[in-house]
Amino acid sequence: MIHGVTQLTYLAAAALFILSLRWLSHPKTARRGVAAGVGGMSLAIVGTLLAPEIVNYSWIAIAAIVGTLIGIPLSWVPLTAVPQRTALSHAFGGLAAGLVGTAKYMIWFQHGELTRFRTGAIVLEIILGYLTFTGSLMAAGKLQEIVPTRPITYPNQNLVNLTLLAIAVGTGVYLTFHPYTAWAFPVIVFLSLLFGVLLILPIGGADMPTVISLLNSYAGLSAVAMGFVLENKLLITAGALDGSSGLILSIIMCRAMNRSFTNVLFGAFGQVQASAAAVEVKTAKSGTPQDVAELLTTADRVVVVPGYGMAVAQAQHKVRELYDQLTKRGIDVKFAIHPVAGRMPGHMNVLLAEAEIPYDALLEMDDINPDLPQTDVALVVGANDVVNPAARHDKSSPIFGMPIIDVDKAKTIVAIKRSMNPGFAGIDNELYYLDQTMMAFGDAKQVLGDVVKSLTGEGGTH
């Protein structure tokens, strides 16, 4: 079916994809990884175009141009919108898989070439593909806040969803054994599309990153299924790479949040935010940006803990200015990056990298925690859950057991946020009421800007 040259380009493309991901393991070689990925993709496309079955190139060319024209602006999105973009991408990926499966079914149906194996693989491909399509669209909508982000629940929801899925799979099995049952195919397509929507409805907006990773994994698996349909090993390989990547990332996120998959998918997390109101009245000390600046200048070691609030306020550039000011004074500044700080894996790293903070100043949780007791000032910039000590000792807390950055062990703590409102998990944070904590209320960008101003004013530099 596929001739020799095409086979060889596929082999090379698969090798390049693997190398691409290998090179991504370190920032130094990462860009080479992108080049390898582009090379692999180009080879794969060229190899396919060489295949003798292809008789008409004009449709392909037009479609490719359209895709490029959509793709280029899509790559300009601000970094805060990366999760939405990724979700949208998965939607396109799922759609492509679904459409190819549909078309292939139609072709084989016409020619009477459907076998059980082929039909079974197509069924798998379209279920995964269409489910990923609508599910990812919903996820993108929730992240972009077009669709309400709070979990939408109704009685027996899980039962309804699972029944739907069961019907879709059942019809799929039936179709596999009776490949020419014409009514079954559209039913499966419809149910998969519907299931994708319903699956995402009850999941809170903040759980979307985990869901997106999982959808990534589904998109990969649908490519694998397409590979089985078309007997194409390159598709299988690339799909498997993608599938395992999505799976691993969602496992990492779940583990870092100390939650299970089931809880993320069916837990309707983030629904009960209101109930978490503080009962006893506790008092927190608050300070002005000038107070913060003063405290920082007397410190020898500062650890900055960024969180989702830094992303919202786009405060990374101010963080960078502060970093420059402090290091200029010989103060040792490190960044403590929690694995799920922000709203996607590696979120903080990308933002700080954008602000040109050298990546070797960024330390992972496990590496920085032992240093915190010797830290003079821990500066918490819009982080909340990832520094909540309740995770360590309060068994009743929803985040109990999640590993955190132990800022409460630092000598003094400064927390920048707009209010006493809770973060993603919707729970109070006792950190803010500690004796050694000073709150600096306000938008992170604003507050940090003032801190930097009073540092430069005071220091007379700049």
Binding site: S20, R31, T68, A223, D242, M344, G346, V350, P358, A361
Partner: protein, 90 residues
Amino acid sequence: MLFVFMLATFVGFQVIQNVSRLLHTPLMSLTNAISAIAIVGAVLIAGEQESTMTTVLGAVAVAASMTNIVSGFLITDRMLKMFREREPKR
């Protein structure tokens, strides 16, 4: 083909586990671009010209995949460009 799937899954798990946490966001967009390999299937369908219907389906799939390829690689590269090591101490 099951063999290929099994081996590729092993490779995938190992490779991804070695990616440093630092780069998890670019990783997401890179695998996103790679999963657009579905374009291979789409091109075959669109180019075969079996019927207008399948050609249109194929062409839409090509466009969707191409979008992912272009935006995925471009955004990954844009993010990676931002990662740089501490410049030599001044």
